[in-house]
C-alpha cells in the first residue's frame, strides 16, 4: 500500500512538473506578472481551483470585478485577505487588474451533479428563469443576462461558480456582511427570499453547464426591475 502511495505521488509530481513546464511564465513587466498574488486562491487565469470556496473571476465583467475590489478596499465587503491586498492601491490599477481577469476566456469546469431532489431543482429553476411574483422577486435572468453569464459592464454571471460560494454570498447579503454601492439592489432582493428559496436557486444554478464560448452580454434585454448603485446606467454613481 505504501509503495502504491509513493508511486502515485511520484506520478503526481511528474505530472505537476510537466504541467508547470508547459505553462510559460508571463513576461516580467506585464499585468499578468502583476496579478500573480491573485492566482493561488483564484486559480490559473482566475479560473478557480477545485477547492470551491474562492470564486472564479475569469471572464466576469470587468466593471463587476472592479466594484468588488473597491468594495473590499473601502469596507463594504469583508474578507481580510482581499482587503489586505487591495488596501493601498488606486482605482486605475484595480481597474487594470479587473480588466485582465475580465478578458480571460477560459473553459468552465463541468457542472456539479445535483445534490437535491427534483422538486427543489424545479423551484430553483423557476426562481432563476421566471422569478416569483408573490414574493416580488424578479427572475435572476432579468438582470444577470438571458444566458445567466452576466451583463457588461457590472453584472456578474451566475454560472460556473460553486453552490457553496453562491449561497455564502446571498447569506452574507441577508445578514449585512456583504454590501454593494447604494442603492444596494441585491440587499433589497435577498430580504424577500426565504433561506430555502436561496438554496433552491443556487442548487439549480450550480448544476447548469456553461458553454465555452460565451462571455457576458453587452446590454440588458429589458431595463432591470430595481435600481442598483453598482450599475452605472441605473445608479447615481459608477
Amino acid at each position: 500500500m505504501k509503495t502504491l502511495l509513493l508511486r502515485l505521488s511520484a506520478v503526481m509530481i511528474a505530472f505537476g512538473g510537466a504541467h508547470a513546464a508547459d505553462t510559460a511564465p508571463p513576461p516580467l513587466d506585464s499585468i499578468g506578472q502583476r496579478v500573480q498574488p491573485c492566482l493561488p486562491c483564484h486559480g490559473k487565469e482566475g479560473r478557480a481551483t477545485r477547492e470551491g470556496y474562492y470564486p472564479r473571476i475569469a471572464g466576469k465583467p470587468a466593471g463587476y470585478l472592479f466594484n468588488q475590489l473597491v468594495n473590499f478596499r473601502d469596507g463594504r465587503r469583508h474578507f481580510p485577505m482581499m482587503t489586505y491586498l487591495a488596501d493601498l492601491q488606486n482605482d486605475a490599477y484595480l481597474r487594470e487588474m479587473a480588466g485582465f481577469f475580465g478578458a480571460q476566456r477560459v473553459p468552465y469546469p463541468p457542472p456539479q451533479p445535483p445534490q437535491v431532489g427534483a422538486a427543489v431543482l424545479e423551484r430553483g429553476r423557476r426562481l432563476v428563469m421566471e422569478g416569483d411574483a408573490a414574493l416580488r422577486v424578479p427572475s435572476c435572468r432579468s438582470c444577470h443576462g438571458t444566458r445567466l453569464l452576466g451583463v457588461e459592464p457590472a453584472v456578474p454571471g451566475l454560472l460556473g461558480v460553486s453552490q457553496d460560494y453562491l449561497t455564502a454570498q446571498l447569506s452574507a447579503w441577508r445578514i449585512g456582511a456583504r454590501a454593494a454601492h447604494a442603492p444596494d439592489c441585491m440587499a433589497e432582493l435577498v430580504q424577500r427570499l426565504r433561506p430555502e428559496d436561496v438554496n433552491s436557486a443556487t442548487a439549480w444554478l450550480a448544476t447548469q453547464a456553461v458553454p465555452d464560448d460565451t462571455g457576458p452580454e453587452q446590454g440588458f434585454e429589458h431595463p432591470p426591475a430595481l435600481r442598483c448603485g453598482s450599475i452605472p446606467q441605473t445608479g447615481q454613481q459608477p
Binding site: 499585468i31 502583476r34 493561488p40 469596507g75 491586498l85 493601498l88 492601491q89 488606486n90 490599477y93 487594470e96
Partner: protein, 427 residues
C-alpha cells in the same frame, strides 16, 4: 503612634509636592526649524501639509468612513484602542476645542476636559511640534467637514483601563518639550530631525517599547512590533538603517514605496506601506530630503541582526527548504536568490530576509502582499500568499534555507514561529 502619623503626613505631602513639581506639563511654544522651501501663506494650507505629514488621517479614519471621524481600532497588548472623532463637530468631535486645547493635546497629552490621553496617541512625539505648527494644524482641521459620530470607548484590560495610572506613566516616561535646534548641525538636518522626531513620529513604531508601552530610551537599538509587523530599527544598517544610502534613494523609498536600482532594491510593506501611501507620497521633496539627511546621521547601534550568526539550521531542513525554493520561489526570485527586476527583489543579501526578527519574512510568505500603489510606482508588483499551499514547517524550511544561502547567514526559522503568525490579523 502620633509620631508615625506625622511622618506619614509629611511623606504624603512630599509625594504630592513632587508630583506637582515634576508633573510633565510644558508651556514653551518653541520654533520649528525652517523648511528648505517657502511655505504657503495660508495657515489652512500649511496645516493641511502638516496634518498629512503627521498622518493623522490614517488612525483617525475607519475603513470606508468619513475622514478624521475616528473609529479606527488599534489592537495592542493592553487592549483595543478606538480613535476619536477629530472633525469639527461640536457634540462628537473637537468643534468646541480652542487652538490652545488642541495644543495641549499635542504638546502635553491631555484632552480639553483635562483627561489624560493614552500614549497610543503619539503625543510623546507630537510634543516636539511648535505652537505655530500646531495652530496651523488646528486651522486645517476646522475646515474638514464635521461628522456626527460618537467616539467609541477603548476596550482595555485591567489595570490599563484606569486612566489614573497615566499619572505615574507620565512621571516615568513623558517629558514634554518642543524641538530644540542643534546649532552644530545644518538647517536641513535640524528640519529633518524636527519632522522625524515630531510630526512623522517614526520612533512610535521603529523603536522597541518596554512592558508599559513606553519607547525605551534614546538610541534605542531595537525595532518595535506594531500591528503584527516588525518595524525594524533605523539605527542599524542590518535592519532599516540608511546610513550608507544616497539621499535620492532614501527619498525615493519614502515617496514611492520602493527603490529602483537593482543593487539596492527595497520595498515598503505593511504599516510602512500605509505611511507611504497616506502620508509620505504627498510630502514635499525638500522635506523628505531633510528627513533623509537626519536618518543617515542616526548612530549605528550595531544591532545584532543577520551577518554575524552562522546558520545553525539542520542540513535536513536546508535540503527540504531547497526543494521548496526550487518549486515555488526560484521562478521569480532566481535560482541563486538574485531576484528578477523589476518584478521580484533579490533575496541574497536582503536584510528584510535576514534580520533577527522573523515576523516580516514569515508574514510575507504566508500572506504575500503588494507595496503601495503610489504616484511614483502606480502598478506595484506583489508577492503571492502561500498560506494555503505550504504548511508551517514547509514555510519554516524554505525561509531557513533562504536565510542560510547565497551569502546569507541568519539563524533558522521554526514552524512555531510560522504558526504564531498564521492566525494574526492581516491589517
Amino acid at each position: 503612634m502620633r509620631k508615625l502619623l506625622a511622618v506619614l503626613a509629611v511623606l504624603v505631602a512630599l509625594t504630592l509636592l513632587a508630583v506637582w513639581l515634576l508633573f510633565p506639563v510644558d508651556r514653551q511654544d518653541g520654533e520649528a526649524p525652517r523648511a528648505a522651501y517657502t511655505p504657503p501663506v495660508d495657515s489652512v494650507e500649511r496645516g493641511r501639509e502638516l496634518v498629512t505629514m503627521a498622518d493623522c488621517r490614517a488612525c483617525h479614519t475607519a475603513r470606508g468612513g468619513a475622514p478624521f471621524a475616528g473609529g479606527y481600532a488599534i489592537p495592542t497588548p493592553f487592549g483595543t484602542f478606538f480613535t476619536p472623532n477629530i472633525t469639527p463637530d461640536a457634540q462628537t468631535g473637537i468643534g468646541r476645542w480652542s487652538a490652545t486645547d488642541f495644543w495641549h493635546a499635542l504638546h502635553n497629552g491631555y484632552s480639553k476636559d483635562g483627561t489624560l490621553l493614552y500614549p497610543t496617541f503619539p503625543y510623546t512625539n507630537y510634543t516636539r511640534i511648535s505652537r505655530r505648527d500646531a495652530d496651523d494644524m488646528y486651522a486645517y482641521l476646522r475646515t474638514v467637514p464635521p461628522v456626527s459620530r460618537p467616539t467609541r470607548a477603548h476596550e482595555l484590560g485591567f489595570p490599563y483601563n484606569h486612566r489614573l495610572l497615566l499619572v505615574a506613566w507620565r512621571l516615568l516616561f513623558f517629558r514634554p518639550g518642543v524641538y530644540e535646534s542643534d546649532s552644530t548641525q545644518s538647517a536641513d538636518w535640524n528640519r529633518g530631525a524636527y519632522l522625524a522626531q515630531g510630526l512623522g513620529h517614526c520612533s512610535a513604531c521603529h523603536e522597541a517599547r518596554n512592558a508599559l508601552g513606553a519607547v525605551k530610551s534614546k538610541h534605542n537599538p531595537a525595532g518595535g512590533l506594531v500591528l503584527n509587523w516588525y518595524a525594524p530599527t533605523l539605527t542599524s544598517p542590518r535592519e532599516a538603517g540608511v546610513h550608507d544610502w544616497s539621499i535620492p534613494n532614501i527619498v525615493m523609498l519614502l515617496k514611492t514605496g520602493r527603490t529602483g536600482s537593482t543593487a539596492l532594491q527595497a520595498t515598503t510593506m505593511g504599516p510602512m506601506g500605509e505611511v507611504v501611501y497616506n502620508s509620505l507620497q504627498y510630502t514635499r521633496d525638500e522635506e523628505l530630503r531633510a528627513m533623509a539627511a537626519y536618518l543617515k546621521s542616526l548612530p549605528d547601534t550595531g544591532a545584532r541582526s543577520g551577518g554575524l550568526v552562522r546558520s545553525s539550521a539542520h542540513t535536513g531542513t536546508l535540503s527540504k527548504g531547497e526543494t521548496i525554493y526550487a518549486d515555488d520561489c526560484a521562478q521569480c526570485h532566481g535560482d541563486n536568490g538574485e531576484g528578477r527586476a523589476p518584478a521580484a527583489p533579490p533575496l541574497a543579501g536582503n536584510r528584510a530576509v535576514t534580520m533577527s526578527s522573523t515576523v516580516n519574512p514569515v508574514r510575507i510568505v504566508l500572506f504575500g502582499g503588494y507595496s503601495p500603489g503610489t504616484a511614483g510606482n502606480p502598478r506595484p508588483f506583489g508577492m503571492p500568499p502561500y498560506f494555503q499551499t505550504l504548511r508551517d514547517d514547509q514555510i519554516a524550511d524554505v525561509l531557513s534555507y533562504i536565510r542560510a544561502s547565497w551569502g546569507n547567514h541568519a539563524p533558522p526559522v521554526s514552524g512555531d514561529e510560522v504558526g504564531r503568525n498564521r492566525g494574526s490579523p492581516l491589517f
